[in-house]
């Protein structure tokens, strides 16, 4: 007998059913995402408050565009595979689920190392230093906070992938996969606003080291 059928057969009216539980879990996760948004909005607000001057208006540091564009594409691709994994498990397509989850984690890692090694310049020499006043402080705060969420997301994806490999999720009952997908897409959503704020919006100002 499946867990879902068992839930219906011996349902205690004082306890929520599985679907009611998932509904509450889903609401809780969205409230969590909303509360996280205040932090990210604060960082965005800091960026637009500090990165401006009386002559040019909104400004930004003159950073390399192509790597940031490529890593943004990589993060978008990871979201695509996460969506594919969620659809696959809802259809009991375990092969697609497994490889899509692994691809999502791999692309997340590429993005993370792209930010840390290329954007933070650990590999090629820093393009923008932490000590570069408001530019450095805001850039490292925003990318660092986002990178922390990427690390958490990758860990979550690997846990859910491993559980899925063991057959813990079914087409009817896969809340953990949905939760993992919502969190990962949320990380992508934050970058959708961070990428233009850091690299595209405003007049580019040359940094002199």
């Amino acid at each position: 007998m499946s867990a879902v059928a068992h839930d219906h057969d011996h349902h205690n009216p004082m306890e929520p059913t599985r679907s009611e539980q998932v509904k509450m879990n889903r609401l809780g996760l969205w409230v969590f995402c909303l509360s996280e948004s205040f932090l990210f909005f604060a960082l965005l607000g800091t960026r637009f408050y500090l990165w401006r001057n009386p002559v040019d208006g909104i400004i930004r540091p003159d950073l390399a565009q192509i790597p940031a564009f490529i890593f943004t594409g990589v993060l978008l691709a990871s979201s695509y595979f996460m969506n594919r994994a969620e659809v696959a498990i809802s259809k009991d397509d375990r092969t697609t689920f497994n490889y899509s989850m692994l691809l999502t984690a791999a692309l997340g890692l590429v993005f993370l190392f792209g930010v840390v090694l290329v954007e933070w310049g650990l590999a090629t020499g820093p393009e923008l230093l932490l000590g570069d006043g408001a530019f450095g402080a805001v850039f490292y705060a925003m990318t660092g906070m986002h990178a922390l969420h990427v690390i958490m997301g990758i860990a979550l994806i690997l846990i859910v992938w491993n559980n899925g490999r063991k057959g813990l999720y079914t087409a009817e009952d896969h809340w953990a996969v949905e939760a993992c997908a919502i969190f990962w897409h949320y990380v992508d959503l934050v970058w959708v606003f961070f990428y233009p704020a850091l690299y595209l919006i405003g007049t580019a100002i040359e940094l002199h080291h």
Partner: protein
């Protein structure tokens, strides 16, 4: 026969969303390098966020929990 077709259309929905996200990102880059319009870039970001919220995060499941893939 209808189930694989439905499944295929759901995969297609994700493909279409990903395609538009990439297209908008390319437009963003071109706009930033040519026009430097902050308002347009913010509007494009909001458009991308809408696609992610609706197609990938399925925000409508909050008020329509029966909605499946």
């Amino acid at each position: 026969m209808s189930e694989p077709t439905k499944s295929g259309s759901i995969y297609r929905r994700g493909n279409t969303a990903a395609f538009w996200l990439v297209v908008i990102t390319v437009i963003e880059l071109i706009l930033a390098l040519t026009f430097e319009s902050a308002i347009l870039l913010i509007l494009l970001s909001i458009g991308k966020a809408g696609i992610i919220l609706q197609v990938f995060m399925n925000i409508s499941r909050l008020w329509n929990p029966e909605e499946h893939h």
